[in-house]
Symmetry: C2
Subunit: 333 residues, 2 copies
């Protein structure tokens, strides 16, 4: 709140003197001890906070490096952000110092409350990681000042980096069909997500086209715990288990495997399980988890490249970059 000029006024010295003292150059500039102490005390009393913006503005003999922000919701799966950042580590994107990364959390559905997207006074571009349908609707009507890239979402207005989630669902259905499976199920985390919705839709469509039986289970939590509880409920229910279950996130599948061990359900003999994401831990479950590889790291890279292109004005029309998912067959299915 307090500025150097305010401090200068109170201390009856010039702004320059205050700057020198606060930067530890007091002795070097031969400012008297008394003055220095006075200045330091006033700064402390006023809770002086140096303005980074002013410093940057002034000191930037260096180049003006763009700020990129990652907008992610507080309920985003933890592993996403870490894989996302890991993706940026490679390809020397980070090391090249072409941009700075800012993390901006926001509440699901409240993207509209983020003034900074409209004023553009916090970053040069934004990657929006997990927009809910409500947020997407806001974006469709909004007039933003900064370029954005949507991760794992579709849009006609903005650039996106995405996979064909519907195709993924179809692929999984087909994968199960080829194995001769007739009765299948899907466990869906209970959240408003375009990707999850399309994946489910594709799966259901595939199931129906291929003439298989389907059970859908909704569960509130995409974590290990959610998967465990969904699996437990299924086991305890009176009707028999399907032959295979598709979990829409790997942590859920991991939780489910645990529940199966607990209740004596053998995988893959009694029940086959397939997850989604190809998280780092999945080759090491018992049995190793068959899952859908989501190229998060590559997509993270693509997001940054897209965004940098827009920021540098070398890209002007929104593009939809699409990556391929791939089923990684291991032991669980």
């Amino acid at each position: 709140m307090a500025t150097i000029r305010e401090i200068a006024e109170k201390a009856k010295v010039s702004p320059g003197t205050v700057s020198f003292v606060l930067n530890g150059k007091g002795d070097q500039m031969r400012i008297s001890i008394k003055t220095q102490e006075k200045i330091l005390k006033i700064a402390k009393d006023l809770g002086y906070l140096p303005s980074i913006s002013a410093r940057r503005l002034r000191n930037s003999e260096a180049i003006n490096i763009p700020f990129i922000t990652i907008l992610w919701t507080l309920d985003t799966r933890a592993s996403l952000i870490s894989r996302f950042l890991q993706g940026l580590q490679h390809k020397t994107l980070f090391k090249s110092n072409q941009f700075e990364i800012l993390i901006q959390p926001y509440e699901n559905g409240k993207l509209s409350e983020l003034e900074s997207l409209r004023t553009g006074n916090k970053y040069n571009g934004a990657i929006i990681a997990n927009a809910s349908d409500k947020d997407l609707q806001y974006l469709d009507n909004a007039n933003l000042k900064v370029p954005i890239v949507l991760y794992q979402r579709h849009s006609d207005k903005y650039s996106t980096v995405n996979v064909d989630s519907k195709k993924t669902g179809l692929d999984v259905a087909s994968f199960l069909h080829i194995k001769g499976i007739k009765k299948v199920g899907m466990v869906i985390p209970n959240l408003s997500s375009q990707a999850v919705a399309r994946r489910s839709q594709g799966f259901i469509e595939g199931i129906e086209t291929l003439g298989m039986d389907n059970t859908i289970i909704k569960n509130g939590d995409f974590s290990e715990k959610g998967g465990y509880e969904a699996m437990e409920a299924l086991i305890k229910a009176s009707y028999p288990l399907p032959e295979a279950l598709f979990f829409l996130s790997d942590p859920m599948a991991v939780g489910a495997i645990s529940a199966c061990h607990e209740y004596g359900v053998r995988i893959p003999d009694d029940l086959k399980i397939i997850g989604h994401d190809n998280d780092e831990q999945t080759p090491f479950t018992t049995p190793a988890l068959t899952t859908v590889h989501l190229p998060v790291e590559e997509m993270a890279n693509a997001c940054v490249k897209q965004l940098m292109g827009q920021i540098n004005q070398t890209i002007s029309t929104p593009s939809n970059e699409r990556f391929e998912t791939k089923i990684i067959e291991r032991k669980s299915c």
Copy 2:
């Protein structure tokens, strides 16, 4: 690189006009279409990048909010950063908008190359997540302009948020001793980390004091893969397995469990396993992993609070805040 004034010069208009046009207020301000197009073209040709610093400086009728940066090495375990950020989500730290989070990666051992710690022109304070011994040595002699907090490290010069890693090692040794175990082993990731070194040291000391046998295995990788490979090598070696193994990270323990299943080593009957961190997945391994709970989330909070205190100048002397680890007993040991 290019500024509004440069564009103005080339377009033979005033800076204000350029600003209006680039912000989409051209029509509103009744700037002629031709002028607008000219300005936009020049801006594009020059690759104009708005200076966020200048915007912030100008627009901040709002308060000056401190920037906090998280300095993390490119080889930091991925789960750390995600649990760290998760920790900040709670306690409404994030939501309160008291600060902004910047992510700054750096190469292990090259903290000294980060100019921003000395110039203070990028952030008001830094949390250093995984300083190597070399980095700590640099910090000990350095004269920084911004306050810092060290996570999981000890220092007499700076504030730290830490656990007693040596005590953790002792605790684990004692825990195993109480179970009547005589022959134990420890699998250590091969990296220069104060925390890992102290944990090992405590464990070895405990083992010796309690008169147990010890085997130490060094492995290059703290991931699931590293644990799997270490375990595989142990199983294939000619000498018999110890009764219990202490893995210095949970992912390693998860990998080891997988290897045990693969080779028919029964846990906990043939071999007991204890991990470290209490990562989210550990209750869901088979058998559930006994591990040491590291309160990452609480520590993350403490880091921010410490740092904010220093930034606001309400805290001036470095403090060492210490948290407790706790053994979470499950089925694997």
